[in-house]
């Protein structure tokens, strides 16, 4: 079923919407949440919560891409659960993603203003737009989907070490761009 038809089901308050969402994007959702939490049970609960959140927000929302919309909800739910688990000294897969993303933080001497997540998102989107499609897809698959380096290296047909270097270059390029913009995180 097409996204637009599933979204129509939500708007008609037809419970089949959740079943159709699960059959189309269930695998994608579980993988995305697992990449962050590394816990089957936690990710299962997050995916169920994401479906409920979709039910609660459509209407009034009518997303252009159901997958991206669902994914954004799921990332928020998963990171909240990660924060709660982290407070209880339980460590999840987000640990690695967050530590890698720290490479993008501009150095304090090069910054002039502090930005919020929404503004930072706009800057990152503009920087991504200037990259080639392959680098852009690679960055998003690693840091939005949380896909593993080994998995991505397998898809690209390169060694994981080579991909790690390429990702490092991308993060450094983003850091330089943010420093040029003079932003603080």
């Amino acid at each position: 079923m097409e996204d637009i038809q599933i979204i129509d089901l939500y708007w008609r308050r037809d419970e089949q919407a959740i079943g159709e969402t699960d059959s189309k994007y269930g695998g994608f959702c579980h993988k995305l949440s697992m990449n962050i939490l590394h816990s089957f049970q936690d990710s299962e609960e997050c995916v169920s919560d994401a479906y409920i959140r979709c039910w609660d927000t459509m209407p009034p929302q009518r997303p252009a891409s159901l997958r991206a919309y669902l994914g954004a909800i799921l990332r928020n739910l998963s990171i909240s659960r990660y924060r709660a688990a982290h407070a209880l000294k339980r460590f999840g897969g987000a640990e690695i993603l967050l530590s890698e993303l720290e490479d993008c933080v501009p150095s304090p001497e090069n910054v002039q203003k502090t930005v919020e997540a929404a503004e930072l998102s706009g800057l990152i989107a503009r920087w991504l737009q200037g990259l080639g499609i392959e680098d852009r897809a690679l960055f998003i698959r690693r840091y939005w989907n949380g896909d593993g380096v080994k998995e991505l290296a397998g898809e690209l047909g390169v060694r994981p070490n080579a991909l790690t270097k390429r990702l490092l270059r991308l993060r450094e390029a983003l850091r330089r761009e943010l420093e040029r913009e003079g932003v603080n995180i």
Partner: protein, 179 residues
């Protein structure tokens, strides 16, 4: 808690839906390196086996053995000038042996007078594309007439600096290609 990393995480969550959707549907092109490695290995093994077989053949098989006692041909009298010696074919520009070549599309041309820099995107399928999708090609040589969108064949010494964009300084030649 890693607050700055989490700010980035939240910012990435808010990326435009269209951009996220594009990345989900993008199919990466596999590098050809793996089969090339196997092909090179197979070629090397074939060479070793062939040489081994040739060495194992008894003298007399596969053609007449050379007559080592035969006298050497007479050397012509007179001095031999360097001009008489067989000449090696000339190398490319600067005498440097080209180590690598790739075709790329020009994105931007910057010419400061003393140095010209081309920002290029290697074509799909080129090995350089696996290293970087944007490469700055710096050269002091005169550039052919190129502008953004043109295709060029770049010959260089095989070294790519791992910056972003990546950078090539050991340029041997840049040739404009027909589309």
């Amino acid at each position: 808690m890693n607050r700055k990393g989490e700010t980035f995480f939240d910012a990435i969550t808010l990326l435009p839906e269209g951009m996220v959707e594009e990345a989900q549907d993008y199919a990466f092109r596999k590098s050809r390196t793996s089969w090339r490695k196997f092909a090179s290995l197979a070629a090397c093994m074939m060479l070793v086996v062939s040489l081994g077989l040739l060495a194992a053949l008894p003298r007399g098989c596969g053609g007449a053995a050379p007559d080592w006692n035969k006298s050497e041909p007479p050397i012509p009298s007179g001095d031999v000038s360097p001009g008489d010696m067989p000449q090696e074919p000339e190398d490319t520009l600067d005498g440097a042996e080209p180590a690598a070549q790739f075709t790329a599309m020009v994105i931007e041309v910057r010419d400061s007078g003393t140095q010209a820099i081309l920002l290029v995107e290697p074509m799909d399928g080129e090995d350089e594309k696996k290293v970087a999708d944007r490469i700055e090609v710096a050269t002091g040589k005169e550039l052919p007439e190129v502008s953004a969108g043109d295709f060029v064949l770049i010959t260089y010494d095989g070294t790519i600096q791992e910056t972003y964009p990546a950078r090539i300084t050991g340029v041997v030649s840049i040739e404009r290609q027909e589309k």
